[in-house]
C-alpha cells in the first residue's frame, strides 16, 4: 500500500518537474499533478496535512495515532503529512498562502492565522460545524471563539486544549522540609518557598530564557491582574500595558528573580534545559504545560504535582484563574471548498479528529483534546496527566477566553515574552519592561 502511494507521489512529482522543465506548464500545474495521483489511485482521495513538526509519529504521537485510526476507518482517504519544524513550517505556510499551494489542512500559529484569514486564503468552517452538530457541541464556545473573526467567520478550529501552569516535585519539597504549593498558594508564600529552596541550592522555578516563549505560568498571572478587562482598550490605544496593576505584577516577578527563583544560567538555557533541570531533580518547580505530562510520568512519577500559580492579595481581580484554552488552530485552505470530493474528505477528517474516539486516543496519550466529551480513561498509570485533570476539575477556578499572549500580534507577543524574562533576570526594571511592550504596540 505504502509503496504504491510512494510511486504515485513520485510519479506526480516527476510529471510536475518534467512539465516545469519543458516550460509548457500551465498555471493550474499543481492541480494537474493532483489529478494524476487521483486517477492512479482509483477512487482514493488524498488530503494533505501541514504540521509544525517534521516527524509526527515521534513528536506529536497522539495526532499520529488519530490519523492512523482515521485512515483505518476511511480506507478510501489518505492523509499525506507535510511536516517541518515550527518556525520553518510557519514561514512555509506564509509563502504557500501567496502561491496558492497551501496544504488542505494545516496547523497555524494563533497570531498568524488571523492574518491568513484576512488575506482570504482560509475556508470558513461554519458550514462544517453546521453539518456536524455533535462536533459543534463538543467544542465549547471559548474554544471556537478563539479562531473566529469579528465578522463571524470560523477560520480555524483548535488543534488541542492548551493547559499551562507550574509542575512541582513533591519529593524536592519534602527534602527541604517545606510544604509544596497548592491552588490558592499566595505570592508571599511562594517567596518564602523560593528563599528556602534557594538556600538549599535547589533551583526554585526552572525557566529557560533562550526560548523566550516559555513563560506560560507567568502569563496566567497577568489575568489575575485583570488582563482581559484591560486588553481591548490597550489594543485600541486608550490604555497602556504600563498601568498600575501590571506594574505591581511585574515588580513581583522582579522580586522573585532577586530572591533567586530562577536558575543562574537562565539567560543561556533553553526551555529544554529547564525541563532537564526539573526532571533530574535539580529544580523544584517547572513552568510548562500538559504536553510535558508524558515525560514527567516517566521521570518523576508519583511525586509530580501541578498548580495554577500564585495568587495575589493586592489585586482586586479574580484570583481563581486556571488556564485551559484553545491552542493554535487547524486551518483549512480555501481551495478545498472548490473541490467537492476533497471537501468531503476534509470534513470527514475533521469530524473524526473532533470525535469521541479521537478524544479517547488523546487522553490515552496524555493530551487534553479540544473537545469536552466525557471519556473513560484509566489515568492511574499517568500521575502527571492525572494531576492536570484534577487541577482542571478544581471547583471555582475558571479559564479566560484565551491565553493572554494569543490575542496579540507576533511582535507584541515577542516583546511581552522578552519583557517578562527581562524582569525576571533584572535586565529591565518593571516599568521599563512594560514601556517596551507599549512602544512595540504603538508600531502595530
Amino acid at each position: 500500500m505504502k509503496s504504491v502511494l510512494k510511486r504515485i507521489v513520485t510519479f506526480g512529482l516527476a510529471a510536475a518537474i518534467a512539465t516545469s522543465v519543458t516550460g509548457c506548464a500551465t498555471s493550474n500545474q499543481s492541480s494537474s499533478s493532483d489529478v494524476a495521483s487521483e486517477k492512479k489511485s482509483g477512487s482514493k482521495t488524498v488530503i494533505t496535512l501541514g504540521m509544525h513538526v517534521a516527524n509526527v509519529d515521534e513528536q506529536e504521537p497522539v495526532t499520529g495515532k488519530i490519523i492512523k485510526a482515521f485512515e483505518q476507518a476511511n480506507p478510501n482517504i489518505t492523509v499525506q503529512i507535510q511536516g517541518n519544524d515550527k518556525d520553518a513550517h510557519v514561514n512555509k505556510m506564509k509563502l504557500d498562502a501567496q502561491s496558492g499551494e497551501l496544504p488542505d489542512i494545516f496547523w497555524m500559529d494563533s497570531s498568524v492565522a488571523p492574518q491568513l484569514n484576512s488575506s482570504g486564503v482560509l475556508l470558513d468552517l461554519s458550514d462544517f460545524l453546521k453539518a456536524y452538530p455533535a462536533v459543534n457541541t463538543a467544542l465549547s464556545e471559548n474554544m471556537k471563539a478563539a479562531s473566529r473573526s469579528s465578522d463571524g467567520k470560523q477560520y480555524g478550529l483548535p488543534y488541542q486544549s492548551l493547559v499551562t501552569g507550574f509542575w512541582y516535585n513533591k519529593a524536592v519539597f519534602k527534602r527541604v522540609g517545606i510544604d509544596a504549593p497548592k491552588n490558592g498558594t499566595t505570592y508571599d508564600e511562594l517567596i518564602k518557598m523560593v528563599k528556602a529552596l534557594h538556600t538549599k541550592g535547589i533551583i526554585p522555578i526552572a525557566q529557560g530564557a533562550k526560548d523566550a516563549y516559555s513563560v506560560w505560568g507567568f502569563l496566567t498571572g497577568l489575568e489575575r491582574y485583570g488582563y482581559f478587562s484591560k486588553i481591548d482598550s490597550i489594543l485600541n490605544g486608550k490604555a497602556k500595558f504600563d498601568n498600575p496593576d501590571f506594574l505591581k505584577y511585574f515588580s513581583k516577578i522582579n522580586t522573585l528573580g532577586k530572591a533567586g527563583a530562577f536558575p543562574s544560567n537562565c539567560a543561556t538555557s533553553t526551555y529544554f534545559q529547564a525541563k532537564a533541570d526539573f526532571t533530574s531533580g535539580k529544580a523544584a518547580m517547572f513552568d510548562s504545560g500538559v504536553w510535558d505530562a508524558g515525560v514527567l510520568d516517566k521521570s518523576i512519577g508519583k511525586n509530580i504535582g501541578f498548580w495554577w500559580g500564585p495568587t495575589f492579595q493586592d489585586s482586586s481581580d479574580n484570583q481563581k484563574v486556571s488556564m485551559n484554552v484553545s491552542s493554535a488552530p487547524f486551518c483549512v485552505s480555501k481551495a478545498v471548498g472548490d473541490n467537492q470530493s476533497k471537501k468531503d474528505a476534509v470534513y470527514k477528517f475533521l469530524a473524526f479528529y473532533y470525535s469521541k474516539q479521537a478524544a479517547k486516543i488523546s487522553y490515552e496519550g496524555s493530551i487534553i483534546p479540544a473537545t469536552n466529551y466525557k471519556v473513560d480513561a484509566n489515568l492511574e498509570s499517568k500521575p502527571a496527566f492525572k494531576a492536570v485533570v484534577t487541577a482542571l476539575q478544581e471547583s471555582g477556578w475558571s479559564s479566560p477566553k484565551a491565553q493572554p499572549d494569543l490575542v496579540l500580534t507576533e511582535a507584541v507577543q515577542a516583546q511581552l515574552y522578552d519583557s517578562i524574562y527581562g524582569t525576571m533576570l533584572g535586565t529591565y526594571s518593571p516599568k521599563e519592561a512594560l514601556e517596551k511592550i507599549d512602544s512595540v504596540q504603538q508600531q502595530q
Binding site: 513520485t10 512529482l13 518537474i17 516550460g23 511536516g83 517541518n84 510548562s288 521521570s299
Partner: protein, 284 residues
C-alpha cells in the same frame, strides 16, 4: 617546492616549535568535534544535566534511533542529486564567466571591473533575506521541490566562485594561452584543453566549498521542499525537534552520520588538490 623547504634552514628548536604549534592548532580544531562524538553516545538527560561525564557505556541507542527515524538512504540520495546538478551547472556557468572576466580583453576596462564587482555583491547577502522573493520567483517560473532549490543554489554560488576563479585565472601566465591560440586553438579548445587542466586546484577548492554549502544549507531547503520524500540531510535534524521537546542526542547522532561522508569526501578531494598542485608546479 618541497625540496626548497629543507633549505629554509630552520634549527631543530624551531622545528620542534613548529610541530608543537601545528599540534595545538589541530587539537583546537578537533576537540569540539571529538566532544560531539562523545555526546552522541549519551542519553538526552545526561547531555543536559551532566554533559561532562564520560558516557558510562558505548551506547549505540542514539544511532539506532537516528537510523530508524530518518530514511537516511533517501536523504543522501536527495542531497547528492541536488549537489550534483547544482554544481555541474554552476561550474560550467561561473567558470566561463570568470574566464571572460579574467582573461578576455574588454574594450572598456571599466566595464570589466564593474561587472566583477557586481558579481561579488551576492557575498554580502544573508540567505534568509532572499527566501520570500526566491519563493515567489520559483512560483512564477514554475520550479519547485528539488529543481526549485538548484537555481537559488547556483545563484548563491556565483559570487564566491567568481571571487576564487577570477583571482586564480588572473595569476595564470598568459603566455601559455597565447601560445595555444597561435597553435590554432579556438576558445572552447583553449578552455577545455589548456585552462581547465591548469585550474584543477581551484576547481577542486570551489567544488569542495560548494558541496559543503549545499550539503548543510537549511533556510532555502526548509521552505522550498514540501514533501518529506524530497528532504535533504540538513532537514534531517528537524526530525528530532518537536514544538515543546527536542531530542538532542538523536540530533547529534544524526549530525555525526551526516558529517562522516563529508569528511570522507573532503579527504578524497584534498588529495586531488595536492596532486593538482604538483602537476601545475611541474609544468610551471
Amino acid at each position: 617546492m618541497n625540496k626548497s623547504n629543507r633549505r629554509t634552514g630552520f634549527s631543530t628548536g624551531a622545528q620542534v616549535g613548529i610541530y608543537v604549534l601545528l599540534t595545538l592548532v589541530v587539537l583546537l580544531a578537533i576537540l569540539p568535534f571529538l566532544w560531539m562524538i562523545m555526546l552522541s553516545f549519551k542519553g538526552n538527560s545526561q547531555i543536559l544535566s551532566n554533559p561532562l561525564s564520560f558516557p558510562t557505556t558505548i551506547n549505540l541507542e542514539n544511532y539506532r534511533r537516528a537510523i530508524q527515524l530518518l530514511n537516511l538512504g533517501n536523504l543522501y540520495k536527495n542531497t547528492i542529486f541536488i549537489v550534483v546538478v547544482s554544481i555541474a551547472i554552476e561550474l560550467c556557468f561561473t567558470f566561463a564567466s570568470s574566464f571572460a572576466l579574467a582573461k578576455m580583453t574588454f574594450r572598456c576596462k571599466k566595464t570589466r571591473s564593474a561587472l566583477y564587482e557586481f558579481l561579488l555583491l551576492g557575498l554580502a547577502i544573508s540567505p534568509f533575506i532572499l527566501l520570500f522573493p526566491v519563493y515567489r520567483i520559483n512560483t512564477i517560473v514554475h520550479l519547485k521541490e528539488q529543481m526549485g532549490l538548484v537555481m537559488p543554489y547556483v545563484a548563491s554560488s556565483v559570487s564566491f566562485n567568481t571571487l576564487l576563479f577570477v583571482g586564480y585565472l588572473k595569476e595564470l601566465p598568459s603566455e601559455i594561452d597565447e601560445a595555444a591560440i597561435i597553435d590554432g586553438c579556438n576558445l572552447g579548445q583553449l578552455i577545455i584543453r589548456v585552462i581547465v587542466p591548469m585550474a584543477k586546484p581551484v576547481i577542486a577548492t570551489v567544488v569542495v566549498f560548494n558541496v559543503l554549502y549545499i550539503w548543510n544549507e537549511f533556510p532555502f531547503a526548509s521552505v522550498i521542499l514540501h514533501h518529506t520524500s524530497n528532504y535533504t540531510l540538513a532537514l534531517g535534524a528537524s526530525f528530532f525537534k518537536g514544538k515543546y521537546n527536542i531530542d538532542y542526542s538523536g540530533m547529534i547522532a544524526s549530525s555525526t552520520l551526516m558529517i562522516i561522508p563529508e569528511l570522507i569526501f573532503y579527504g578524497i578531494f584534498q588529495k586531488n588538490i595536492v596532486s593538482g598542485m604538483t602537476a601545475g608546479a611541474v609544468k610551471g
